[in-house]
Symmetry: C2
Subunit: 242 residues, 2 copies
């Protein structure tokens, strides 16, 4: 069984209080960049890996998807997603992405938001998603950026001149990182950006877009505090084609 810290009271309370959990996709800074990469969903069979409260599942249906399967390891999240959704074409199921097997060639689009950095074996997952998609379909996902994940001490620091810096180290040392984000002892798996790309290519995907998210000028006018993101990226967005 994989880590399921997401159902602890501490993590779930923290997760539920996040802007993106309350406002949905519009509350996520990186969503406009993700949306650009999402293909036309009309009539498509969509799977969302790590669906949380179901915000993307409902968006996909509003964009014309024929059906959506939302999967998450968290019982609490799936319960909340079901409670918040009145749509017979959306199905939510509890699933462990480390061991999940989807039926072959049964989906036309796969999405995931900020889930795969909790997955130890991304190569296995990428190969499974490739099998589950029909040829020509797209796979769009975000993860925490490896620059954000890598350091032993992953928090802002200051240099001798008092300037904000991100104290990068251990970038090439792939593997688990234990953090105290929302709850104590959350385990994430750091992979170099190149490793994620190469695993997708090995699985058979063609890389279509790689975006290390940064705020636009308009974003900075609306949210001056996002200027940090110019110094080190927090989100990595990848679009691939099967």
């Amino acid at each position: 069984m994989s880590q399921n810290i997401y159902d602890t009271a501490e993590f779930f309370a923290g997760y539920s209080a996040m802007r993106r959990s309350i406002e949905g996709l519009e509350g996520a800074a990186e969503w406009p960049a993700v949306q650009v990469q999402v293909p036309d969903l009309k009539g498509k069979r969509v799977v969302d890996l790590g669906c949380g409260f179901g915000w993307f599942a409902r968006y996909a249906r509003s964009a014309g998807a024929a059906s959506v399967l939302g999967l998450d390891i968290s019982t609490n999240m799936i319960a909340r997603a079901k409670a918040d959704t009145q749509d017979q074409a959306i199905t939510y199921e509890i699933a462990d992405l480390e061991t999940l097997e989807l039926p072959e060639a049964s989906f036309d689009f796969a999405h995931s938001s900020l889930a795969f950095h909790y997955i130890r074996d991304f190569g296995r997952l990428a190969a499974m998603v490739h099998r589950a998609l029909v040829p020509g379909s797209h796979f769009v996902f975000t993860i925490e950026h490896p620059i954000f994940m890598a350091p032993r001490n992953a928090g802002w620091s200051r240099d001798a001149d008092g300037r904000r810096i991100w104290p990068l180290d251990n970038y090439a040392v792939e593997g688990d990182r234990t953090t105290d984000w929302l709850a104590k002892g959350v385990v994430k798996y750091h992979r170099r950006l190149g490793t994620t790309i190469n695993m997708l290519i090995s699985a058979g995907f063609a890389i279509r877009h790689v975006e290390e998210w940064a705020p636009s000028e308009q974003d900075l006018a609306d949210h001056p505090e996002w200027a940090e993101e110019l110094d080190r990226p927090m989100f990595l967005l990848v679009a691939a084609e099967r």
Copy 2:
């Protein structure tokens, strides 16, 4: 006319003294990783963009290439490459990669080592290389890694606990970086890793491999000082297919 600081006495003396300039490819830490990506060169027409002293050009011929065109902006380097090469199938020419135009579909393989981070308009260059290659051919190059390029103060630092850290900032701020490497005022152009990948995709290339070079255990046994490269990557290797 692009920057040509490489012909200044200061830069050229420093460049000439580098281990890779004296020993050739075997003196470059990242060469084994590059070599794995270089396809079978037998009978191929090869172009090397930023050929320096001609080490790769001569390697390509020893690996069976039919012909090699080595291009560099530095008069001194081209003169030295010519002096060191006795091979009628290798041609060296002075060329500015910012404006270079190669004949269409005239090469079967393109290589470049640590040159493109000096190029302002990589998108133009990638599109030109795509046109110059025949379908199915490969393009393998290294650049300085953007993590290495980005910071205002691109040098090792220490955190409050005395541990070595790389003071990353300005990662999303693309554009020129002026450094004092080998000579004062060398201008390099920082692009995010994703930007380099997306420019290749836009030019029509399929991404085959992305490697943020790090030393192997054997490398570390032979060169303990390379352990720094585990903390932040210096070299980015990309292999693409036309």
